[in-house]
Subunit: 194 residues, 2 copies
DNA sequence: TTGCTATAGTATCGAGTCGATACTATAGCG
DNA sequence: CGCTATAGTATCGACTCGATACTATAGCAA
């Protein structure tokens, strides 16, 4: 029988460690006012751009069904952390926004202990690990036939410094992008490299 | 506002990536016959040693309550993947063992896509990442006041090559350990370094 | 205009999860 | 023999989450 802790099976070890770390975070988060799915949604809404602040985009991001996400949003709205707003342009789109309370709730994010654990790694390691995990995420999403969901800056529709005042531009949505926008998650993201 | 994707906030990014990877695995695992907790239990039972194949140890490992774990075990037993056996020495200890079907179920572990993603990383990276994640796990467990749960070989009670035929020895439980034992997870594990 | 179809989102339901609580039974100690 | 600690189970209830069914709007086509 193969021993999953052998050096040869290090990928299996990595996968299992990821699963365990996440499990510990969830276990720890249990005495929070929010559940894991709600925290995930809150984090997403903090970082998505104005093209992606919708229930549908959130559902794709979380790999959950629209119905499930709708319930999560109901809970977050009930708690006053998220506001739903009608889209001025389209009658069937709902725009999501964090409330002030929602933003400040993120200061109590149960992911913080994990982030602290990451911060205490040896100096150069955080970069390597972040890049490795990112690569794994892309891999996994590709294998699942999902959209990659990256930030505008790394998208093939991103046009850097297209203009003076408003430095960037999205060639897909034909919208100007501020420097701030460029670092936000977009549901339309397509990586530069084909 | 700080942008969580800045280089300065790389630890937060790492934490979030771990959470997302795990979420994708869980989402993918949904059309499996087993749920995430059951997979976690199966994985543990494949790799724990003979001192740690009990519901209590599993509960500590999963950071779950005994009641929850008991239910998980009920489900696994009902599905014929795990067998509960009375301990011959103690009437209040239950020993857990994977059945043949349980062992072969692990070939369909939904963690495998993630492991494959880890395997396709650049050569030297897997080692670094595995070590980094291990360090994070220890950190997190220490912060939560939990037992570390490592393999015998790295335990302070482990005596290497204590004997000829049975090479190793556990100084805590006063039991001989085979080479195979040395790589198994033990609930009594205490790291060498204090 | 009138369909037709696709899409965004919601409501409802039911199987299942998981912690809390309470319980039984054994171990171990005096 | 109690007494207490521990291993494990049963039960309950709040909640999760996907499946299904539904409403409503958008967009296209004739």
């Amino acid at each position: 029988m193969t021993d999953r802790f052998d050096a040869a099976d290090r990928p299996a070890l990595i996968a299992e460690l990821i699963e365990r770390l996440s499990r510990l975070v969830r276990a720890q988060a249990h005495d929070t006012a929010l559940n894991p799915a709600q925290w995930d949604a809150l984090r997403y809404l903090e970082r998505c751009n104005r093209f992606s602040n919708t229930p549908g985009a959130l559902a794709r991001y979380l790999a959950a069904t629209k119905g499930t996400v709708s319930q999560t949003l109901n809970a977050l709205e009930r708690k006053g952390l998220v506001a739903r707003q009608d889209d001025p342009l389209s009658g069937r789109v709902v725009r999501l926004a964090l409330t002030r309370a929602g933003r400040s709730a993120l200061n109590r994010d149960p992911l913080q202990p994990l982030a602290r654990a990451a911060a205490s790694l040896a100096g150069g390691e955080t970069r390597r690990i972040a890049e490795g995990l990112l690569a794994m995420l892309s891999d996994l999403q590709r294998a699942n036939g999902q959209r990659p969901f990256g930030v505008c800056r790394t998208c093939r529709h991103f046009r850097k410094d297209a203009d003076g005042g408003n430095p960037h531009f999205c060639a897909l949505l034909r919208e100007r992008l501020s420097e701030h926008d460029a670092g936000r998650i977009c549901a339309e993201h397509e990586p530069v490299a084909a």
